[in-house]
Symmetry: C2
C-alpha cells in the first residue's frame, strides 16, 4: 500500500513539473516574450499542455487514485494523551501509523479531489479537448480585435462557438448536472446559483438606495491629482506598498504586463505584475495592493502542502477576497495611508502638495461608470451582478448571441443608470467569456462579501482596524489572515472558511454594513 | 522513406520544445527567480534535462538517424537553369525532388551532426550522466563560496572531481581520442591544439613587444569620468546602443543578471542581460554592445533552419567573434561614437562635459590587470593564452590540483608582469572550470583572431570602416555580417567561414595588424 502511495507522490511531483513549466511559459509570454517569439512559445505551450492532459488522464494515474481512495483508514487518536489513556486505542494508532503513515488528512483530501478531477477529465475525448483549446485561442484573438474596433459582429461567431463548446465540455465532465452549476462550482467549490441569487438580491436591495444617496451628494474635485507621474517612481511606490502590506520579496518577483495579474509558480515563488500609466498613478497603486493581496495568500500556504491538491487554491472567490481585502477594506481607508503618506510624497513629490484627506476622497470617488476594472468598490458590485445575470441568460435562457449586446446595455441602464455608447465599453470590455471562463465573474463579488464578514470577525477579535492601521501595525492584520485563512490553502471550502473564521454562513449584510458605515455620512465619515 | 523523414522532423520539433523550456527555466533562474523559488526551479530543470537526455539517446531516435544517414541522395542540379539545358539531369532532378524532396542539404547536415551527437551520448551511462551533472552543480556552489572567501582549498576537492569526471565523460564519448582535443572540438568544431598552438604563439610573439611599448607611454587620466551614473539612464543607454547596432527588439528582450549573457530561445526570441554599476557606466555600455553582437547573430539565422541542427550555433569561437567584433573592432573606435555621442550626453548628462577624445582614450586604456572580464582588448589575449596553457597542464601533464594556483600566478607574472595577491583575483576568478567547461576559453581569443580577418575582408569590400561609421552607416556593416556569416547559422565550420569570407586559413596576423595600426602611434593614431 505504501508502495502505491510512494508512486502516487512521485507522480504528483512529476505533474507538478509540468504545472511549473506551463506557468512559467505563460508568465513569460505575458511579461517579456517578443512578438516574433510568440509562435515558438505557442508551440511549447501546446506541447506541454497536451503532455499534462495525458498525465492527468492516464490509466496508471487513475488506478493509483482508486487504490488509495478505497483504502480504509482506521480511526486515529486525537492526541498522544488519548493514546496513553487507552491501550487498545494506542495499539490501533501504532498500527495505523505503520501502515498508513503518510496517508494523512492532506493526502486523503488530495486523493479525493484529484480523483474527482480525473473522473471528469477522463470523460473528455482528447480530440474534443484539443479542438476546444484551439477554438478558445482563436476566440481570444477575435475578441481583442473586436474590442479594439468596438465591433461585436467580429466576435459573435466565436462567442457562439465558445458557448456551445463550453456547454459540451461541462456536460462531458458532469453529464447529470446543470452546466452553469458545474461552472460555478469549478471556480468556487460548493457554490451554487441558489446561494448566489439569495446574497446578490440582498446586496442589490441594500446598494441601490445607498448609491442614490451618494450620487446626490456630487463628486469630489480631483483636479489636485491631475498631472504626469514618473514611471520609475511609480515602480518604487509599488515596491514600497508591497513591502508595507507584507509581500515577501525573497519568495516572489514583479514585472510589467498589459493587465496586472498574480501567478503562483510554487509557495516560494509567487509573482505579481503591474501596468503603469503616467497620467494615473493611483491605478497602479491599487493594482499593486490588489495583486499583493493575492500573492500574500500564495506565499503563506503551509509548505507541508507542497505537491498536493491543497497547495492549489482554485477557489477564486476566496482568492479574490484576499486581494480585495487589501485593496478595498484596508487600502481605501485613510488609516491605511497614515503611516506611509510621507513616504509616498518622497517617491512621488506631487503628493506632498495633496492633503491626505483629498487623496482619500479621490480613492473613494463612487459614481456609475462603464468599465468594471475602473469602477469604485460600490458600483463594482453592480457590474458583477450584471454579468451574473447575463451568464444565466446565456446558460439558462439560451438567449441568442446577437441579442446579448442589447441585453447588456439594458441591464447597465437598469442597474447603473447609464448606457454604453458602443460595445467596446459594453459587452466587449472583459476577456473572460472569450476563453470560456463563464461562472468566474461571481467570484469577485463573493470575495467582497466574504471580506465584509472577515472584517467583522477581525474587528471583534483585534479591535478597530483603523486603530491598528494608524498605529502602523498592519503586519498584525496580515498575520491574522495568514493564521485564519492563508496557511490552509484550499484545505477548506469557502463556506467552511466562513464557518471557521466568522462562525456563520454567507450573508451580504456585513458588506452592506461596511458600505453604509463608510458612505452613509456621504464622505464626511471615516475616510 | 519520406515517412521516416516526417517522423524525424516531428521528433526534432519535440526535442526543440524541451530545449525551449530548459532555456527559459535557466533564463528566468538567472534573471528573476527569487531565492525561495530556487529549489522548485532546480527540480524542474533536473526533470526536464533528464527527459531531454532520454529523447536524445532513445533507440527510436537512433534508428531514424541511421535510416536517414544511409539514404543515398542522387546528385541534384545546381540550379533550374542547369536542368533546362540538360533533359537527363532534369529528369533525375525531378525524381530526386519527388523521392527525397525534404532531405535537402540542411537535413543532411542535421542528420550527420545529430547522429554524431547521438553516438557520443549513447555511450554515456545514464547514471554517470546524472552523477556528473550533480557533481558539477555542487562544484559550482563550492566555487562561488571559494571565490568570495578567496580560498582555493574550499574548491580544490570539487575541482579534482570535476576534472577526473570530465576526462571520463569525454572518454565515453570518444574513447579513441585525446580528451582535450575532444573538448576543443566540442566548443569549436574542427579546431585542434596544433592550430591553436600555432596561432597563439604567433600572437604572443607579436603582442609582448607591443604591450611593452604601450606600457612605457603611461596611462590616460580618467578622472573626468569618475562619478555616479543613474541606473535608469544607463538602461536607456543600453536600449540606444542595442538599437544603434541593429538588435531587433521585436525578436528579443532584455533583463538584468549578475553576469551579462545572451540566450537564444529561437530565432525570433534572442535575449540579452546586463549588469549595472552606478560607478562605472562604461562597463554596462560595452556589455550591451558585446551581448548585442551575440544576439544579432542569433536573430539573423535563416528561419528555414528552424528545428534543425543549423539553428544551433555551438561554435563558440565564431559566436564570440561576432560579439567581440561589435564590442572591440567597432565599439572601441572613435568613429563608432561620432553619430551617437550627443545622444549619450542627453541620456547621461555627465558625458556632455567629457570630450569624445577623452572618452575614447578611456575605453582604450591598455594595461596589465588581474581580472579577465575587466581587461582591455590587448591584454585580454594574454589572459586567454594563460588559461589555455593551464588547461593543457591539467589535461596533458596531469598537473596536481594543489599545484595549479602557483602555476597560475607564475604564468601571470610571465605573461602580464603582475602577480595575484590571492586566489580570488587569480585562479578562482572564472566560473568555467567549476562546471567542467574546459576547452571553452580559447574560443574567446579565436573569436578575436577571426575578427582581425573579418575586418580585413570587410574593408577590402566596403572601404574604410571609420568612414562607414562616421557617416552613420553602421547598418551596412551589420548587413554585411548578416549576409556573410549570421544567416548560415552553423552550416559552415569556422574554418569554412574563414575560407568563404576571407579566402584564407586562420592566422593571428590580421589581429596583430589591427592592434599595431591602432596602438603603434601610442594613442595618438586612429582612436
Amino acid at each position: 500500500m505504501n508502495n502505491t502511495l510512494d508512486q502516487f507522490k512521485e507522480y504528483l511531483h512529476k505533474m507538478r513539473q509540468y504545472d511549473h513549466v506551463l506557468t512559467l511559459l505563460y508568465w513569460d509570454l505575458s511579461t517579456l516574450a517578443p512578438e516574433k517569439g510568440v509562435e515558438a512559445r505557442t508551440n511549447a505551450i501546446n506541447y506541454f499542455s497536451t503532455e499534462a492532459f495525458r498525465l492527468s488522464t492516464a490509466d496508471e494515474y487513475g488506478k493509483m487514485l482508486h487504490t488509495l481512495s478505497e483504502m480504509e483508514v482506521p480511526p486515529r487518536c486525537a492526541s498522544a494523551a488519548d493514546c496513553s489513556r487507552d491501550s487498545e486505542n494506542a495499539l490501533r494508532c501504532a498500527a495505523a501509523a505503520e501502515q498508513f503513515d503518510a496517508l494523512d488528512e492532506t493526502m486523503q483530501l488530495t486523493v479525493k479531489r484529484y480523483l474527482r478531477d480525473y473522473e471528469r477529465f477522463k470523460r473528455i475525448p482528447e480530440e474534443f479537448y484539443s479542438a476546444y483549446t484551439e477554438v478558445k485561442t482563436r476566440s481570444e484573438r477575435a475578441w481583442e480585435k473586436a474590442k479594439r474596433a468596438a465591433d461585436f459582429s467580429l466576435f459573435a461567431p466565436h462567442l457562439e462557438k465558445v458557448i456551445s463548446m463550453t456547454k459540451e465540455y461541462v456536460q462531458y465532465m458532469e453529464p447529470d448536472e446543470d452546466p452553469y452549476e458545474v461552472l460555478l462550482d469549478m471556480y468556487e467549490e460548493g457554490m451554487d446559483s441558489a446561494t448566489i441569487d439569495r446574497v446578490f438580491d440582498e446586496l442589490k436591495e441594500g446598494l441601490l438606495p445607498l448609491l442614490k444617496k451618494i450620487e446626490e451628494s456630487g463628486r469630489p474635485d480631483l483636479s489636485a491629482i491631475k498631472g504626469t507621474y514618473d514611471i520609475q517612481a511609480q515602480k518604487k511606490v509599488q515596491d514600497m506598498l508591497l513591502s508595507y502590506i507584507g509581500f515577501n520579496k525573497d519568495a516572489g518577483a514583479t514585472a510589467e504586463s498589459e493587465h496586472p495579474f498574480t501567478t503562483d509558480l510554487c509557495i516560494g515563488d509567487v509573482r505579481v505584475t503591474n501596468h503603469y500609466n503616467e497620467k494615473d498613478p493611483i491605478s497602479a497603486m491599487f493594482s499593486a495592493i490588489h495583486e499583493g493581496g493575492h500573492a500574500i495568500f500564495g506565499q503563506n500556504i503551509d509548505p507541508a502542502y507542497e505537491d498536493t491538491a491543497l497547495e492549489q487554491v482554485n477557489m477564486m472567490g476566496l482568492h479574490e477576497s484576499q486581494s480585495r481585502f487589501y485593496e478595498n477594506i484596508l487600502g481605501r481607508r485613510i488609516s491605511f495611508w497614515v503611516p506611509i503618506y510621507d513616504k509616498l510624497g518622497e517617491l512621488l513629490p506631487q503628493f506632498k502638495e495633496i492633503p491626505l484627506d483629498t487623496f482619500c476622497r479621490a480613492i473613494n470617488d463612487v459614481h456609475p461608470s462603464m468599465i468594471r476594472t475602473e469602477a469604485d468598490e460600490v458600483t463594482y458590485c453592480l457590474h458583477i451582478i450584471l454579468r451574473y445575470e447575463m451568464e444565466k441568460a446565456i446558460f439558462r435562457d439560451n438567449t441568442p448571441v446577437d441579442e446579448l449586446p442589447q441585453l447588456w446595455n439594458d441591464k447597465m441602464e437598469e442597474l447603473l443608470g447609464i448606457r454604453p455608447k458602443n460595445d467596446g465599453e459594453g459587452i466587449l470590455q472583459d476577456m473572460h467569456w472569450s476563453d470560456g471562463s463563464f461562472g468566474y465573474f461571481p467570484s469577485y463579488l463573493l470575495g467582497s462579501m466574504y471580506d465584509g464578514m472577515f472584517l467583522e470577525a477581525l474587528e471583534k477579535e483585534k479591535g478597530s482596524v483603523d486603530t491598528i492601521l494608524e498605529e502602523g501595525r498592519i503586519s498584525e492584520i496580515t498575520a491574522w489572515l495568514n493564521e485564519k485563512i492563508h496557511r490552509y490553502g484550499s484545505r477548506y471550502t469557502s463556506a467552511e472558511v466562513l464557518q471557521r473564521v466568522c462562525g456563520k454562513e454567507l450573508s451580504a449584510q456585513p458588506l452592506l454594513d461596511y458600505f453604509n458605515r463608510k458612505y452613509a455620512g456621504l464622505y464626511t465619515f471615516n475616510i
